[in-house]
Subunit: 594 residues, 2 copies
């Protein structure tokens, strides 16, 4: 084990952490920092480190685990729902740079195979890059965000399929029609086999484990690893690359197959071990293979590939986006958002280098192209969204709609009736009589204990956009919101907090990114009493200048009347609950109880 | 990356899983099955697999992570409290086989260095082996279990210290006094440096992260890995082995240094990645280095080493145990319990082989010795405990004493006063007035939300042996019991269940190994009313024949009176709460309310 050098491992991990943290602080994905650190530490600049057998073994395991994680994060349902505009953006943003990239390399005298690899690399859109940027730019609930997410998912899937087709012909070389059919047949057989195994056998295994009451997380983890390496081996047998097997395994190991809590914990392990340990080893060591000479010897090619990647991506997206009818400006905005390259691109380029299909120069060009294009994303996207905003063309849209309200008490029902106009509202309560009452009011209501996943599932929590917890018990509200967040990924959580609730409860709100209902701590009972006794009066007020909900509350507290703000009505008449993390725009109305 | 062979990885993982699961089903630790599978798949028998660079890199990372986990599991407090008998057993069970092992190898013509390695290997006691066996034999709350646990902890620590001393001289070879001082000085410096870093710097880092409100688990994981590899590198610089650094890092990365929830999750990751993925690769591949030839060429040595290991361990433990005054029979029982060898032994033997200090033959002898001695543990321990039981010498003792009662309602206080006689009881409630009332009754009481870790810490949950949740809300009871189990490792959890609580709640009870209070679902309010209005009468009944608590309840239900069984009083007058998973022995009394 002379190869096992702890010092190198220590340097790589520390470097990856420093680089990743610096990149994140600047609003970029960690992978950017890891690549740059690799270039600095590696032969290109400092020459402190170089690739070794130990590093490549760990890096290889890292990208396998990372591909599993990427697969796990892709939700079939999301892909299926990925709307017309998302599909248009994804295809345009992939096909145009793909074509341009291909001909660029051919023009520079590269082989067809190398040109195909570069084409995929410039076509890919990075998934990881975006969600953080969308949060920073407060774009999460716009139509653009929705299109971007769907676009990136489709683009990754497209890239991996083309990569699969490509890789299966690499070894084959010059072959006859029968040979081509054999190669293609094997690849198709792989996808059919893994799909059948994933769709039919895995759920059977999951059911068996559930029935046998096996809840040992470590055992589940081992079994999932065996499935992953099994799929990876199948991919290699089919003449494909192991990462495709890992990706397929990740696609199928997800919600509902195994116990939900265990799935979540194992998803966390794959996340932490890949993103927090082994994948950075791959990205840092990718930097070891970069040469700076290309800035002298291949500068034109670098510039050409980078320009083609950027123009192709943004232009292609905007062009194909036109049939959506959302305008070329939104198309360009989406294009700037999809301009980043990330993990999948570097992995594919790394495989190309390792297989000898692309040269070290082209690999270096692709790494720098990834760095440069990713650098542009927050800058360009800030410009384009500001531009849209100024023109009033930034359209808000939710990817997950509807409300799940916990608490069928009179206040819960009152709020539900307000929100039920256009969005789908489900009310949950453990008290059957109150649920019956809610049903009589025409609401969709489910009886059951909200702290149990079955109840959440029955209430269709996985589709809901907002979770509102309105029971008198803040503890229960917080725990239910945590479940809604951790197991059902509901994006917005709004929780009624009792005045008795102290600091730790507020910490918990922050951890799950929840907001407090009514933007202040409220005792529930008096209001329920007022509502049922007819002592509450519904009022409406229009806001003249932009202010946060808490500022509005502060202003009202100066008055003598106790009030309870329920919903904010925007200029289009859409209602949203009144909560802490919100800002009221001029022209919006507040409906409150007095 | 030609070395990266997914097929081999798949076979090893699958083999490890099958072997481990089979061993566990037979009541043995998984490592036993993994070693046997390695011998079967490896050159010794089938010749399907052999060591490769990929396997050794992954195995090396596996043992580093495993040593971190082993270190994390060792609690300083436990070591400090490890009682006189535990210390005696550990020293006797280490020193005697150590000496015998050393001279056995010298007798067979081995080098001094090899003899020292074998001596450590036969001296070691396996930690992992035992807890499962103790559960199977229902020994967990006996004095033997307590002594065994402490003994194994001390033995592992002893073995690693001697290993450190040994390894630091391996490279040095024949040196003068100055050289020896230099070598020893470096080793001592390592322990001092890591101890200072662990005791002073790590908590500072933890505090910094807490103050900066950094709760990103992945970041914590990366930082901890950097610390681990940093310590490992320090160990190598000091002329020691990296596993010592990993072990020291694990020792210091534990409760209280980082956010408790994050610590727990990271502990889980180290557990799953080492025990569920990488460590089995090490143990299976250890089997690849085993040769069966020794059964012909070195049979005498194998028999000698195995006998010396067994007789030395059992005899040595019994001998040194005599001053405890607990008798030689209990000493022999403890010795049979400590006779297993496991992870640490195989790791040390592997290092010896890798460094060329011991031959492949001696390595094989040590692997078979580990297998044979571990095989004896459940068999011998069953015999010896039956023997003790028959003589009435099986002494029960708790390693964690005292009760934590959630709910300062009248029933909680009533129960607390019953249990408070000899054991330390703490009552917790969120209602300050009720807590004040409990204090006036002379009880130790804490006001706070039990679902928060701070409250649990304030109530000294980490020292308690039993958690009793007695609020009217079954949900809260279950969640609090889960926290008590997951974050404070309280061995016994007893939960009041409301009659409304359905199947899922009972599932939860099982998952955290909790039992229901009063052995049946009870509505709390009527009993509290009876207690406060003076309508409840305390009765006592002696049991004539052995029966389970639920059978007793069934018998009572035939009567017309409603009763509430509170505590069971054993023949020595000690009281324990009346709950579902308990059996009442003849002569024991039940105190109940009517």
């Amino acid at each position: 084990m002379e190869e096992f050098n702890i010092f190198n491992l220590l340097i790589i991990l520390t470097g990856a952490w420093v680089g990743g943290a610096a990149a994140k602080r600047l609003g970029y994905p960690a992978i950017l920092g890891e690549l740059v650190i690799g270039i600095i530490l590696g032969p290109a600049i400092l020459g402190l480190l170089e690739t070794s057998e130990m590093i490549s073994v760990l890096a290889e395991v890292g990208i396998i685990l990372l591909m599993v994680y990427i697969g796990m994060e892709i939700n079939f349902r999301d892909l299926g729902k990925a709307s017309w505009p998302g599909l248009l953006a994804a295809i345009g943003g992939f096909v145009v740079p793909f074509g341009l990239g291909y001909y660029t390399i051919i023009y520079f005298g590269g082989t067809q195979m190398a040109a195909m690899f570069v084409a995929i690399a410039v076509g890919v859109t990075s998934l990881a890059t975006k969600s953080r940027i969308l949060v920073d730019l407060k774009l999460l609930n716009t139509r653009i965000a929705y299109v971007l997410m769907a676009g990136a998912l489709i683009s990754d899937t497209l890239a991996l399929i083309i990569f699969a087709g490509l890789i299966s012909f690499v070894d084959a070389g010059n072959i006859d029609t029968l040979g081509i059919m054999w190669v293609a047949g094997k690849a198709i057989l792989f996808f059919v086999l893994t799909a059948v195994a994933g769709i039919y056998l895995l759920p059977l295994l999951g059911k068996f484990l559930t029935r046998a009451k096996i809840k040992d997380r470590t055992l589940h983890f081992t079994l999932i690893l065996i499935i992953v390496f099994g799929f990876a081996e199948l991919a290699e047998l089919a003449g494909l690359h192991s990462i495709l097997g890992a990706f397929m395994a990740g696609l199928f190991i997800r919600d509902g197959v195994f116990n939900r809590q265990i799935s979540k914990e194992i998803n966390d392990i794959f996340h932490d071990v890949s993103i927090g340990f082994l994948a950075p080893i791959f990205f840092v060591s990718a930097g070891f293979n970069v040469t700076l000479d290309i800035f002298q010897t291949n500068l034109l090619m670098l510039i050409a590939v980078t320009l083609v990647a950027m123009i192709g991506k943004i232009g292609g997206t905007a062009l194909f986006y036109l049939p959506s009818g959302y305008g070329w400006r939104e198309g360009i905005t989406v294009g700037t958002g999809m301009n980043g390259r990330g993990a999948v691109e570097i992995i594919i380029a790394g495989i190309g280098l390792e297989m000898g299909i692309i040269s070290a120069e082209i690999f270096s060009v692709l790494v720098f192209m990834a760095i440069f294009t990713t650098l542009t994303v927050p800058v360009f996207l800030t410009w384009t969204t500001k531009w849209l905003k100024k023109r009033g063309e930034l359209v808000h849209q939710e990817s997950r709609k509807g409300f799940l309200i916990l608490g069928a008490n009179p206040l819960g029902i009152y709020l539900a009736k307000h929100l039920d106009k256009e969005d789908f509202v489900t009310v949950v309560d453990s008290n059957r009589e109150m649920v019956e009452l809610a049903k009589k009011e025409g609401l969709n209501a489910v009886a059951g204990n909200i702290l149990k996943e079955e109840t959440m599932e029955q209430a269709n929590a996985i589709e809901k956009g907002t979770f509102i917890a309105l029971t008198a018990n803040s503890e229960i509200n917080l725990l239910a919101a945590q479940l809604a967040n951790d197991s059902f990924y509901i994006p917005r959580k709004i929780v009624l907090m009792d005045p008795k609730e102290s600091g730790a409860g507020v910490d918990m709100l922050d951890r799950i990114n929840a907001s407090s209902m009514f933007a202040s701590k409220i005792k529930l009972d008096p209001w329920i009493y007022k509502l049922t006794s007819g002592g509450a009066q519904e009022m409406e007020v229009e806001i003249k200048e932009e202010m946060t909900t808490r500022d509005w509350i502060k202003k009202q507290k100066q008055g003598k009347d106790e009030i309870l703000p329920l919903v904010i009505v925007n200029t289009e008449g859409r209602k949203r609950p009144f909560h802490f993390h919100d800002t009221i725009s001029p022209g919006e109305k507040i409906i409150y109880l007095r």
